[in-house]
Amino acid sequence: MKITVRAFAQFREVVGEVTVLDLPQRSGLPVLFAALASRSDESRGMLFDDQGAIREHVIFMVNRKRVPRSSLDSIILYEGDEVAIYPPVAGG
């Protein structure tokens, strides 16, 4: 299934603005992050810490709804979903 990933700020500079990933049906976010990380060492370093956990400062939305870190493992993705990843915001 196709999942669109949008990245912003320094994540955009490393991962790219829009990435379409082809993931197994009913993949979760950890699968998506692993797929992004596999694209370059820089991507991996930005998304995962040395213990292989997704870094604290990575924020993510699914279909423009923020997903709390506690739901990282419980979300299931569906064909056409849009996942956004970004660092802490700094507007205003």
Partner: protein, 133 residues
């Protein structure tokens, strides 16, 4: 009115529009690019999500405080020292609510609205770290 725009704005126009028979006080916050040794800043946004979040913040402010109106304009793109970044205009029957709501809104914007700043100096550039995760 909630807007994200590359265009500059005139705060006076929005203060004027917030005048209303029920309004006794209007409080505004205007964010400006301060000279921290920078040559320019660039603001990036996830526009659809940011608009949705700004609308949610406005609705929260309207329900939490006894206020009459909220307007928020946030600029994106390349800005120089002294340029406007953001404008918040809150009209209320009484001043306390207007002050509380206006500060609440700018605090929430800095916490949750997907907008990012990159600072350019003579030495290079850096993304401004957010205060909240």
């Amino acid at each position: 009115m909630i807007t994200i725009t590359q265009e500059d704005f005139d705060p006076g126009v929005y203060i004027n529009a917030a005048r209303d028979r029920q309004v006794g006080g209007i409080v505004t916050f205007t964010g400006i690019v301060r000279d921290d040794g920078i040559t320019a800043i660039e603001l990036e946004t996830f526009r659809e999500a940011a608009l949705q979040e700004l609308e949610a913040i406005r609705d929260e402010a309207l329900s939490r405080y006894a206020i009459q109106s909220v307007d928020i304009i946030h600029r994106i793109g390349t800005l120089s020292v002294g340029d406007h970044i953001v404008l918040i205009v809150v009209g209320a029957p009484h001043r306390r609510d207007a002050f509380r709501a206006c500060e609440y809104i700018i605090d929430r914007i800095k916490e949750t609205v997907p907008i990012w700043k990159k600072e350019y100096t003579n030495e290079g550039s850096r993304w401004v770290p957010g205060e909240h995760t």
